[in-house]
Amino acid sequence: MRRLLLFLLLLLSVGSIFFATAMGSTQMALDEWFNAIQDSGSRHGELIWRLRLPRAMAAWVVGSMLAMSGCLMQVLLRNPLADPYVLGVSGGAAFASLLGMVFGVAVNFIPWLALLGALVSILLVFGLARGTGPWSGTRLLLTGVVTASGWAALISLILSQSPDNSLRGMLFWLMGDLSYASLPLWSVLVLVASFLATLGLARSLNVLAMGESTARLLGEPTRQLLWLVYLLASVLTATAVSIAGSIGFVGLIVPHLMRLLVGSDHRILIPAATLFGGLFLVFSDTLARTLLSPRQLPVGVITALLGVPLFLLLLNRARLKGVQP
């Protein structure tokens, strides 16, 4: 049953990418699209193979990374509301990237700066909230929210001091936009490696979700495990941000929806969220390209417009069920 569901999600993922190549400001009929796929040299073929397909694949990779990162952070915080965007990890990555751009750092190094920003941000949040006292999810979440505001303020500072001609490119980091996205090979490797590592940790994550001391009593060396999960979550967020800027709500909504569908066992939740995160962002980006076509919206606006009501709905459901959100 669960395998069937995963297979269905995989099928939908592939389907979403094909769908994304067919949609856009240049309309194509089905037979035109079919011909264009086969002839990459034609005008439509070039549009599909060089513009739409790479963009759709980038969207898929970024979406699955954010969903995975969300799953990991929710376990870390023992709070289903955790998300790289909410906790300021995306903000830290975006700030470091922007700072790099202002100082004219080579484009190749920007992802490393994003990683640095994400790591600093996550260390700051966990360092401040952890302290010596007991580990508290609420304190951690609040610290994350405040840290996110701090990054937002620093980003505004940079924007206000930047020349007009670089503003547009910088706004890209803030709203989350796939218009300029490319998909470097290393990011695919990061996705595959993180996915395998996370899947290997899945049963440990189940135990960790029940609390740090419970996990230790069940045989997990939690200190090492927590660090590994921090690191994975940071690398995934940083890679996603360096490709597409800080896109919000994917890491929040996707694990939530998948938990409703497949339950909380990470051995099934991780692959389901990874697949659904990918296809969710491909559809969101397709909407972003076509909704006001030929004008394009930043995909972060779409995910927020889809995510916020969905999130409020879920929160309300949780309240009705008498569950602590």
Binding site: A209, S264, D265, R267, K321
Partner: protein, 260 residues
């Protein structure tokens, strides 16, 4: 399989819980840990479980220093029911009981039919039959508590540390849990220590008693030697009466002017 505390000093926030505690939990022994509120019963149990470090002294598990053993090895030998059980994520009752198998499974290994049977049996023991697919976040406080105990049974530790296992439980389930611990101790040669507030549960079930009375003072020994009016009045700073019943001596707080 024994757990040995050697001249253990434990404190929390500068307050002594026990000084120079020597204690051996041997197979077949069921210890009751008694003491007034806030005296440090939980902290001591956490220390015995290796969750926090003692100030001084050592804890030996199977003749080996516990802080040198990997958590996974400890978890196969020693299990603890913590005082609070809060479930945040919507796992099912069966999935949660199965987490007890975690230390016994290999890295990529999945729970087999045998593991599942153990979980189902434990769920029956705690009277949660029919709840297997229920979501843990929808359980009542007492039900969540029983589920946590089931997960401990599934873990199959030879040393059981229980922090107020009867919290939130009605009479029937208090007895059910205590009977189960007694059975594990007697028939499967396990050792248990349980923090309790109900002196009569201790009198009924425990073979040995450890009393913590503050300032690092402690007393340990067979239950019938330690459970008497003088000790209990001193321990709880409250007048106590005893009644002889067919099952043995039972204790009640007497309603004197001192209690008001």
């Amino acid at each position: 399989m024994t757990l040995v505390c050697q001249s253990l000093d434990v404190s929390i926030a500068g307050k002594n819980i026990c000084r120079q505690l020597d204690l051996t939990l041997a197979p077949g022994q069921f210890w009751g840990l008694l003491g007034p509120n806030g005296i440090g019963k939980t902290t001591l149990l956490k220390c015995m479980a290796g969750l926090s470090a003692p100030d001084n002294g050592s804890i030996l598990l199977e003749q080996q220093l516990m802080d040198k053993l990997p958590r996974r090895v400890i978890a196969r030998l020693l299990g603890m029911l913590q005082q609070h059980t809060v479930y945040v994520f919507d796992a099912s009752v069966l999935e949660t009981a199965l987490t007890g198998r975690h230390p016994h499974l290999g890295y990529w290994e999945r729970e087999g039919a045998e593991d599942k049977q153990k979980a189902i049996d434990a769920i029956r023991v705690v009277d949660l039959e029919g709840f297997e697919s229920r979501c843990v976040t929808s359980l009542s406080g007492g039900e969540a508590r029983r589920l946590a105990f089931a997960a401990l049974i599934v873990q199959e530790p030879t040393i059981l540390l229980l922090d107020e296992p009867t919290n939130h439980l009605d009479m029937k389930h208090q007895l059910r849990i205590m009977n189960q611990v007694e059975q594990q101790v007697k028939h499967r040669q396990r050792a248990a220590i349980t923090a309790l507030h109900d002196v009569n549960l201790a009198a009924r079930y425990c073979s040995h008693i450890l009393m913590l009375s503050g300032e690092g003072q402690w007393q340990a020994g067979p239950a019938d030697e330690l459970l008497n009016l003088d000790n209990l009045e001193q321990l709880y700073q409250c007048p106590v009466e005893s009644v002889m019943t067919s099952a043995g001596v039972r204790f009640y707080p007497s309603a004197g002017p001192e209690t008001t």
